[in-house]
């Protein structure tokens, strides 16, 4: 019997990447487990807090969460359960990790998506416009604004927006995540702007640089001398400049998804960022493991999606693969 061979290079590429992603997640899970194990502290004592603790009580809690087992056995127990689809129970809240995460993942994803839309919708067009008028007053003022955006600490931007738009003008709520639908969007508006500010400024600079770089290429001068219309030239330039921008957008989404913590704390939003922070200090292993793996998976799959997109928009890449 012959083994079925993957004829399509694309399918082979995807399969290899998926296998590599699986391996990466396994390694990350082990490293995070080990790091958390090495940090000082004892979840059983954290659960009890400052109150009388008898050795029997501590032993009973440790037994319940397998904290009394050896490090490797704890990891293997965890891994076995995960492979069976069981992410365990949070030590801090005694709630199934999947229950704990479901609503929070949605909130963080919505927040990241809104910030992403803002970033893409504003930073890229502004970056292109600035590049087109490179050196003009418009370009310079946008560039200065971008430097401020990159430099301003997230929480400071958040508090400023809260004060101006939440309290002073009263246009937006100052905390919480709303009741879904439009109310959710209204509640997430300020956090999304806060989150988008820094990364949007970065994407603006990147777009501007990419487009300016393309405009300096010889083919542009050649196209101009051949008398191509501005519209035609713009289409060629943008298509070429799109490659670095697209690659960066993948990273932007991954960054937004994994970087919501400061915004979540400032706006009292209960996403996975704030949960990760409190779970790390509590040493709530099952929760930390689930969140880090989820974030790693989002980053890995976004990177894969970007590569596929790259494949789609750049004919050179396609040709290399086929050869």
């Amino acid at each position: 019997m012959t083994r079925p061979r993957l004829r399509s290079p694309l399918a082979r590429f995807v399969l290899v990447r998926l296998a590599a992603t699986g391996l990466l997640l396994l390694v990350i899970s082990f490293v995070v487990f080990a790091l958390l194990h090495l940090t000082p502290g004892d979840p059983a004592r954290n659960l009890l807090g400052p109150k009388p603790q008898t050795p029997e009580l501590l032993a009973s809690i440790r037994a319940k969460y397998h904290l009394d087992e050896s490090f490797f056995r704890q990891y293997l127990l965890w891994l076995r359960n995960v492979l069976h689809g069981d992410f365990g129970t949070s030590i801090r809240s005694d709630t199934a990790v999947t229950t704990l995460l479901s609503e929070r993942v949605l909130l963080t994803a919505q927040l990241a998506a809104m910030a992403f839309v803002l970033t893409v919708g504003l930073a890229i067009p502004l970056g292109i416009a600035a590049a087109w008028r490179a050196g003009s007053g418009f370009d310079r003022s946008l560039s200065v604004g971008a430097i401020v955006g990159v430099g301003a600490p997230t929480y400071a931007v958040g508090l400023l927006l809260l004060y101006v738009f939440g309290v002073w003008l009263g246009w937006f709520p100052v905390y919480g995540s709303g009741d879904g639908g439009l109310d959710r969007i209204w509640h997430l508006a300020l956090p999304a702007v806060t989150l988008a500010a820094g990364i949007g400024a970065l994407v603006f600079k990147l777009t501007r640089t990419a487009v300016v770089g393309e405009l300096d290429q010889d083919y542009v001068a050649f196209a101009v001398s051949r008398g191509l219309s501005r519209r035609q030239i713009r289409s060629i330039v943008l298509r070429n400049a799109l490659i670095p921008i697209t690659t960066s957008l993948g990273l932007v989404f991954a960054f937004l998804f994994g970087g919501t913590i400061l915004v979540e704390v400032t706006f009292a939003l209960q996403g996975i960022g704030s949960l990760l922070a409190s779970s790390v200090t509590f040493k709530d292993l099952p929760v930390v493991q689930a969140i880090t793996l989820l974030t790693a998976a989002v980053i890995a799959f976004t990177a894969l999606a970007v590569d596929l997109l790259y494949y789609a928009i750049d004919p050179r890449v396609r040709k290399q693969q086929v050869r």
Partner: protein, 554 residues
């Protein structure tokens, strides 16, 4: 009782290092505010013994129907059943939904809850008679079996790791009549009386309900279920909980229809939420930011002693703190009066014992309580500190370390002041701020000779903290047979005054060995929309069904 673990604002702000902007915002908010609204006066510090601070307003207030009360807590709840997560705020929510057999009133005296009366026929037996009109929020009547089952839940260290301790001395809980439950202790313990209260270690729930939810309680899929004036309608862990009034409560209809409780860990956000009117009541506001709260429009700040204790623990099993001269040297260098005046802005009281005065005020006057608790003969005197150190095994000094929770900035400041004071003696104290969970791990740890305790008493029992601090596994590794004997005899003494005296004697004997140095008894503060006020605000306010205490002004 612990403060709930929280992701502290300070940890976020530290390292980010742009406090200038914060100051700018604070300045903006000050300049933006209008003239202080009538009635929004802050009462400031209260004199000793005043349980209801801040009721300085002369405007008439009455119980009126309130459609929605929004409450903001400074830290997150991840489980609503206090047996599982026992931060002080878990109790504040649970006491609206669940009840025990007894309950503390606003002075801390135990009064009936689900038990209409109780008696103690023998020193080890407590007989509770249940009220006939008690119902769960779904309308089903409470049975003696439900009580016995709920005691079992609270006693089970797997289900209720935080309360199992309180039931360790309970031999049995049994139904002894249609409406009667008898709890039998292994050995007499007068303090047990506090156990079956929702402010301490019992939240009566329905056996049928918990069994239908596979033994889970307090999670979003198995909400806390009880007999109180409210039921939980929505719970998002670490985000919010919403309570809806029920008509099944034996105590009648509560005045507030919906209570929405949000968890807002960032204090600046909480202040902004009050400014914008999104929050009516902020519980446990930071003393650090009292000025900003007081400067907020239409906001009244109330403060009152809260039965909390802050003090130094020396682990007497760790060198050089095994030497009483070293412990005394440090104790003499504590300027406790200055800590209270400067660091707490007067919102506290110099502590002279482990028992807080409020825990004696049910049996004596506030002045008598303070006189009785004046057990410490360690004035602030650096010369005496120097003399003590000279007598010790380390006369030229030593280096030590202490870890302080980032949620306790005043404690951190006090230790900074102490470190400055003992530096000329050659004692170097390295102070590190850590997340609250790391602090837990320094308590009773052999790695730390120097530590501190910030303890919230849950009961009005004067022996509460002493029982832990002088018992097995205490944070100071302290052993003194005379003290142990006194504590044992206190458990059997049923006369409250005589018992209090025994507990005081035990503390006097123990504190002479300086295993602990009491620093201050704390105060709590709340901020409330000046449309409302809280009747008799004090340390027991939120430990029994508390919405009837929210009064509407005018």
């Amino acid at each position: 009782m612990s403060k709930s673990p929280q992701f502290s604002r300070r940890t976020v702000l530290q390292g980010a290092g742009a406090s200038a902007l914060l100051m700018l915002i604070a300045a903006c908010s000050d300049s933006a505010k209008n003239a202080t609204a009538p009635g929004s006066t802050s009462p400031g510090a209260t004199g000793p013994g005043t349980t209801a601070a801040g009721t300085t307003t002369t405007v008439a207030a009455s119980a009126q129907d309130i459609e929605l009360l929004t409450v903001a807590l400074p830290s997150s709840l991840s489980n609503l059943y206090p047996g599982k997560e026992a931060g002080i705020f878990n109790y504040y929510v649970a006491t609206l939904v669940s009840e025990g057999l007894v309950s503390p009133d606003s002075n801390g005296t135990l009064v009936p809850a689900l038990a209409e009366k109780w008696e103690q026929p023998t020193p080890t037996t407590y007989v509770y008679t249940l009220r006939a009109d008690a119902k769960f929020s779904d309308g089903t009547p409470v049975t003696a079996d439900d009580i016995v089952y709920s005691v079992g839940l609270s006693k089970d260290d797997k289900v209720s790791p935080n309360t199992a301790y309180y039931w360790a001395n309970v031999k049995s809980a049994a139904k002894t009549g249609a409406n009667e439950v008898t709890i039998t202790l292994t050995e007499p313990d007068v303090a047990f009386e506090w156990g079956p209260a929702a402010s301490n270690a019992l939240w009566v729930t329905s056996k049928k309900y918990v069994e239908a939810h596979k033994g889970e309680l307090g999670t979003p899929t198995s909400l806390l279920f009880g007999t109180g004036p409210y039921k939980v309608t929505k719970f998002q862990p670490d985000s919010m909980v919403e309570l809806e009034r029920v008509d099944t409560w034996w105590g009648g209809k509560a005045p507030v229809k919906t209570v929405r409780i949000n968890f807002i860990p960032e204090e600046t956000t909480r202040i902004l939420a009050r400014k914008s009117g999104d929050v009516d009541l902020a519980i446990s506001i930071s003393l650090d930011q009292l000025k900003q709260w007081e400067g907020t429009d239409h906001t009244k700040v109330l403060t009152a002693p809260d039965r909390s204790y802050v003090g130094i623990d020396f682990n007497t099993a760790v060198a050089p703190f095994d030497d009483i001269h070293v412990r005394k040297a440090i104790a003499y260098a504590c300027n406790r009066k200055a800590y209270v005046e400067k660091l707490l802005g007067g919102h506290g009281e110099v502590a002279t014992a482990l028992t807080t005065p409020l825990q004696l005020e049910t049996i004596m006057s506030p002045t008598e309580a303070r006189t009785a608790l004046n057990l410490l003969d360690l004035p602030y005197d650096l010369d005496l500190a120097k003399a003590e150190l000279a007598k010790s095994k380390v006369p030229t000094g030593f280096t030590t370390k202490v870890e302080i929770s980032s949620s306790a900035p005043q404690v951190s400041s006090a230790f900074q002041a102490l470190a400055q004071a003992v530096k000329p003696l050659g004692i170097i104290i390295d102070i590190k701020e850590v997340p609250v969970e790391e602090w837990y791990n320094t308590i009773a740890s052999k790695d730390f000779g120097l530590a501190y305790m910030w303890y919230f008493n849950t009961t009005g029992d004067p022996a509460e903290l002493a029982t832990w601090f002088f018992g097995d596994g205490n944070p100071a590794s302290y052993k003194n047979p005379a003290v142990t004997a006194l504590m044992a005899s206190s458990k059997k003494e049923t006369d409250p005054k005589k018992r209090a005296q025994i507990i005081i004697d035990a503390q006097k004997t123990a504190l002479a060995d300086v295993p602990y140095v009491p620093l201050w008894w704390g105060e709590a503060a709340i901020a409330i929309n000046d449309k409302y006020t809280v009747k008799d605000f004090g340390s027991y306010t939120f430990l029994s069904p508390w919405t009837p205490r929210i009064l509407t002004v005018g």
